[in-house]
């Protein structure tokens, strides 16, 4: 039997074998290790004495930017000292090249096809959009990878999603994710592979939304099969050589599931979970909203912001509703300014924030109060995720969130996109 795309990437990186199978415990060389601000938090950070290879390390500040308190400011100082001590050239601490780590990784072409990338944040699977074996690990894992240049993976079985057709104009890959999570539930211990003729219609940003949300399927890895659009995107940002890994024709999948993108519709996940918990956006009625949010590593792309601006153009955010928009990186922020999106968003009464994990992580810049209701286009709607444990967090696409912000209650975005 042949190997799936992720199996081939892991086999290529393995230090002691040429092929991998589900059930294997494989030790691999780490091509890229991304540290982020939470790693440097006082009390958590362990002083690193030796770095295996500084050129394989990237440092990004994202969860609490600008520093929200003395604790985060102290971590920032530690990060800067680490970068200087070991001569880390790829650092994104503040200002024009800063952003949410997974978006920074995409923007700079750090995730090369066919390579292994680890970061101590769960949504690292985002870089699977580039045929990269990328996954979130724990903080101790990251210290191991940075000091020893290796890590281990337990190889799971792979489910392939074969996309056909193209999405209707009122649908985004956030809706596709909500469909997968609602219909197929969790994928604990398994990999997901995205491929098929339908991927040609998906932009790189749209693909990355989907792979980022792979963490919410509880998948080990979420990986796109390579195509020219992906390879061109990476080549335009990084001139390092790479070898993309295509699945073998006789790869052994746990299941192959065909999904017709043309049949997708705007969905909303109800509070506390995305698994088996979604309804059509138009069927969720009578939910008054205190806050609406578009942002995070999953939905802070320029396309997402353009969609928000499209919905808000000539409209106003409803009275009594707060609408926050957070770009994935400062470069995206600047692009959104130049394109006029920020002006449209501000004129509608929404608030545009700097690039940060912010409201999605529930730490700062949009924390929910007791019993508040929110709809979010971000990564998670767990109980307590974005603030008080009694807050109700719904999840939808950027279009659904923007339409809901105008209506002041959860709404189907279709009439707003005409």
């Amino acid at each position: 039997m042949g190997m799936t795309a992720i199996e081939k990437i892991l086999a290529r990186a393995a230090v002691d074998r040429d092929a991998v199978r589900p059930g294997d415990l494989v030790v691999v060389r780490v091509d890229t290790a991304v540290l982020y601000d939470n790693n440097f938090t006082p009390g958590l950070w362990r002083d690193v004495l030796k770095v295996h290879d500084p050129d394989r390390v990237v440092v990004v500040m994202d969860h609490r930017v600008p520093s929200m308190d003395i604790n985060s400011a102290t971590g920032w100082k530690t990060a800067r000292a680490f970068v200087e001590k070991f001569g880390i050239e790829r650092h994104h601490l503040f200002g024009e090249n800063q952003g949410i780590s997974h978006v920074v990784v995409a923007e700079n072409g750090y995730a090369l096809p066919g390579t292994v990338l680890v970061c101590g944040d769960s949504h690292t699977c985002s870089a699977g959009a580039f045929n990269c074996a990328a996954r979130g690990t724990g903080y101790p894992d990251m210290v191991y990878a940075v000091t020893k240049g290796e890590t281990w993976f337990r190889v799971g079985e792979t489910v392939r999603y074969e996309f056909t057709g193209a999405m209707p104009a009122n649908v985004s890959t956030k809706d596709v994710f909500l469909f997968l999570a609602d219909h197929y539930g969790e994928h604990a211990g398994m990999n997901v592979e995205f491929g098929g003729p339908g991927i040609a219609s998906l932009s790189i940003d749209a693909r990355r939304t989907l792979t980022t949300m792979g963490a919410e399927l509880s998948a080990e890895f979420a990986t796109f099969e390579p195509d020219e659009a992906m390879l061109d995107y990476v080549r335009a940002r990084n001139d390092a050589p790479f070898e993309a890994q295509y699945p073998d024709a006789d790869a052994d999948y746990a299941d192959i599931r065909t999904v017709d993108l043309a049949a997708m519709e705007p969905l909303v996940a109800l509070p506390d979970a995305v698994l088996n918990n979604a309804k059509p956006a138009g069927a969720v009625t009578g939910v008054r909203l205190d806050q609406c949010f578009v942002g995070s590593c999953a939905n802070g792309t320029i396309e997402d912001i353009a969609t928000v601006a499209q919905v808000l153009k000539g409209r106003k955010v409803a009275k009594g509703t707060r609408f926050l928009v957070t770009p994935g990186t400062q470069r995206i922020y600047l692009e959104a300014v130049k394109a006029g999106y920020v002006e449209t968003i501000l004129e509608a009464g929404a608030v545009f924030t700097p690039a940060t994990c912010g409201a999605c992580s529930g730490a700062h810049m949009g924390v929910l109060g007791p019993d508040e209701a929110c709809i979010t286009a971000s990564t998670r709607n767990f109980k307590g995720r974005m603030g008080d444990n009694s807050a109700k967090i719904y999840m939808g696409s950027p279009a659904t969130v923007a339409a809901s912000a105008v209506a002041g209650e959860i709404s189907d975005p279709t009439p707003f996109l005409g």
Partner: protein
């Protein structure tokens, strides 16, 4: 590596934010541990004793990379078994030194308060109250060694790669 203790049961899709809430993300390890399951089972911490065991359903630990496994260890839970465990959470169990085993059917094999015996190398979970034994997915030897050694930091420190804590 074997553990034995009184069982507390939690269902499917128990996420990291329930174990380590966002509001406690930047607290000290000790203060983080005071918030375990405050949203879904308030008061639970008052009834547990050191050496107790957590039994979960499917997809235990889904969510964030935060050190939620460390919080369970800090409150004195001896270890856990669940029908399936999120891969990232399992990594944190290994690397923070918190015993954890995947074992299909384990949730239904226990009532809360039963006594469980978990053998991580053999991959078995025994209900010592009912006499039922289930076989799950043994933890590979190399990972078990790290788990039993209290996680990955003692190893890295012994090799001179990181400084002593504090």
């Amino acid at each position: 590596m074997k553990i034995e203790g009184r069982v507390w049961k939690f269902g499917d899709n128990i996420n990291t934010d329930l174990i380590l809430p966002g509001r406690a993300m930047y607290f000290s390890a000790e203060d983080q541990a005071k918030c375990v399951f405050e949203a879904n089972r308030p008061g639970w911490l008052d009834g547990i004793a050191p050496g107790d065991i957590v039994i979960g359903g499917e997809n235990f630990g889904t969510g964030s990379s935060r050190p939620a496994a460390r919080s369970l260890k800090t409150i004195g839970i001896a270890g856990m078994a669940a029908g399936s465990i999120n891969g990232l959470f399992f990594r944190n169990c290994v690397n923070w030194g918190f015993p954890a085993l995947e074992c299909a059917g384990v949730f239904d094999a226990f009532d809360e308060g039963d006594i469980a015996g978990i053998d991580l190398a053999a991959g078995t979970v025994e209900n010592l109250t009912t006499g039922v034994t289930l076989t799950g997915r043994p933890v590979p030897e190399v990972l078990l060694k790290t788990m039993a050694a209290g996680g990955v930091f003692p190893l890295l420190q012994s090799e001179g790669l990181i400084a002593p804590a504090g």
